[in-house]
């Protein structure tokens, strides 16, 4: 049970990073973006490509960082992947979503997001193959933290959790201490009022795509670091990330963080009770329960 809880917290941190971007986009642009989880895939594969390039041109960077399987090359690759994914998110908006937004309804946007998800997923499969990839083929043994009850944890998992929490802390400080953060929260709460207070909506939309894409890239790399990289990352994570967003309340960044942990823990705790094949249904059940009991989520507010 304690092992499931620990694993749930680790998975939850990755879901939280993905859900932050999704909740901002869903609230500001008022559409359910089913392609958001594919940004994790773009991030994970971008880092894989950059890692291979660094390994080829600067072999010195292939040294591991402490007890982690992560190398200096991968650490640098992750930073570049953040930029690549953020720009990809912005380009997807410019090329597809903005055009649909200008001409179609919110429903058209949802269907467009399905299309974008399919294109990205299949493009990843075409380029990198349908098999799985790993950042490191070296075996990293889990550390036994407790024998009774048994609790195993990999250094990579601890790193991913600590780094995710640090990123969330930085985001919290930006949102709660800077006027840029206030502006982001203002736009999320009331875009029209934000505009008449001098905030340029188009700049904020651009910022939301960049931040959402960047966080998704980090989540994708952490997912690849603690699991495997495959073109199906988006398919596998879209539902848990949506569940995290809905649990937290659409538009609430803090809600998305909490929602990520709730969904991650619930899905992993369910493994202790249910056969593993039923585990993916847990986010579905969470979404249904939240929509029935508290439709606006934990921190969400009713919208006109």
């Amino acid at each position: 049970m304690i092992q499931n809880l620990t694993d749930g917290i680790l998975v939850g941190s990755i879901l939280s990073l993905g859900a932050i971007g999704l909740t901002m986009v869903m609230h500001m642009l008022r559409f359910a973006n089913f392609s958001h989880a594919e940004l994790l895939s773009i991030g994970a594969y971008s880092a894989l490509v950059f890692d291979a390039v660094f390994a080829a041109i600067l072999p010195v960077l292939t040294a591991k960082i402490g007890p982690l399987s992560m190398t200096w090359a991968l650490a640098l690759s992750m930073i570049l992947a953040v930029g690549t994914t953020a720009i990809s998110a912005l380009l997807i908006d410019r090329l597809i979503f903005r055009r649909v937004r200008d001409k179609g309804s919110e429903l058209s946007m949802v269907f467009a997001s399905f299309g974008v998800a399919m294109i990205i997923r299949n493009a990843m499969g075409l380029i990198f193959g349908l098999g799985t990839n790993l950042y490191s083929k070296d075996i990293v043994f889990a550390v036994v933290l407790s024998r009774d009850p048994l609790l195993l944890i990999k250094p990579d998992q601890v790193f991913a959790l600590v780094a995710a929490l640090a990123i969330m802390l930085v985001l919290h400080l930006i949102l709660s201490r800077t006027t840029l953060g206030y502006a982001l929260r203002a736009v999320a709460e009331n875009p029209a009022l934000a505009q008449v207070n001098g905030i340029r909506l188009s700049h904020m939309i651009m910022l939301v795509w960049l931040v959402g894409g960047g966080l998704a890239a980090i989540a994708g790399v952490f997912y690849g670091l603690t699991n495997q990289i495959s073109p199906m990352i988006g398919r596998d994570l879209v539902l848990p990330i949506f569940a995290a967003t809905i649990v937290g309340g659409i538009g609430s960044i803090y809600g998305a963080v909490l929602g990520g942990f709730i969904v991650g823990i619930a899905a992993n705790m369910a493994l202790a009770i249910l056969p593993s094949g039923y585990s993916p249904s847990v986010p579905f059940l969470i979404i249904l329960a939240v929509l029935l009991i508290r439709p606006n989520g934990l921190f969400g507010e009713e919208r006109a």
Partner: protein, 243 residues
């Protein structure tokens, strides 16, 4: 001597193309005066304010503020033209603290931000006392004062107010309208839409009456308040008599 700070010239506007709500509306607001727009529900009063604020696009006409054509400007450019807009409802950011709301409004004040914040706190002491509380926890009247304080942050020469007394107690409504009057006496031009006709006319200098998106009657507020024909047709005769 007073002169026009704002001229609305033959404005036609609406939310849907080819379905105008405002039809060739013309209006002038004199500098340092309170000008009120009244009329029955659906007259287009709020649409007119929103059109001036750039939130509703114009299909004809133009809007001149202090000699500059501000027709069709983006809402985020309002402050740069010396115009502030206080929406009717949801006019503060409820999830931000009072201080954060004001900091946001003071974003472009640069080095003057700290002194302007002190000025706003001095003008609205209850906001200073509750500066670290969430704005959503404020009473209706205090929310309106916060909205006005945010509007004042950019030192505007014109403030557009959409039904500032809506949903307030009579006492709070009176305080908000008196605040608007006080700002006008300090040289700020106020253009407000009001449903609270008697109170608005008492505190205003000039009044425009709209109906079905068109200009109907205009004149000094005191004259309109005592005009029995206008009172019966547009303002409700009983309310005028009781004033």
């Amino acid at each position: 001597m007073v002169d026009a700070a704002l001229k609305v010239e033959g404005v036609t506007a609406g939310y849907v193309p080819d379905l105008p709500i405002l039809k060739e509306v013309t209006l002038t607001a004199q500098r340092g005066q309170v000008t009120v727009i009244i009329g029955p529900n659906g007259a287009g009063k709020s649409t007119l304010i929103k059109a001036i604020a750039g939130l509703v696009s114009l299909s004809a006409g133009r809007i001149i503020h202090e000699g500059a054509d501000i027709s069709g400007i983006r809402p985020d450019q309002l402050a740069g033209h010396g115009v502030s807009y206080v929406p009717q409802m949801d006019n503060i950011f409820r999830t931000l603290t009072i201080r954060q709301n004001l900091d946001l409004a003071l974003r472009s004040a640069g080095a003057e931000a700290a002194s302007r914040l002190d000025e706003l706190y001095a003008r609205f002491p209850p906001l200073a006392e509750k500066r670290n509380e969430k704005a959503g926890a404020l009473s209706g009247g205090q929310r309106q004062f916060l909205a006005v304080a945010m509007a004042l942050a950019s030192k505007p020469s014109l403030i557009l107010m959409d039904e500032p007394s809506a949903g307030l107690s009579p006492k709070a409504a009176q305080e908000v309208l008196e605040c608007a009057r006080g700002l006008a006496e300090q040289g700020v031009t106020i253009l407000l839409v009001e449903q609270n006709v008697n109170q608005a006319l008492r505190l205003s200098d000039y009044c425009f009456i709209l109906a079905e998106g068109c200009n109907q009657v205009e004149g000094p507020a005191a004259d309109l308040m005592n005009d029995p024909v206008v009172g019966e047709i547009y303002l409700g005769a009983k309310r005028v008599k009781s004033a």
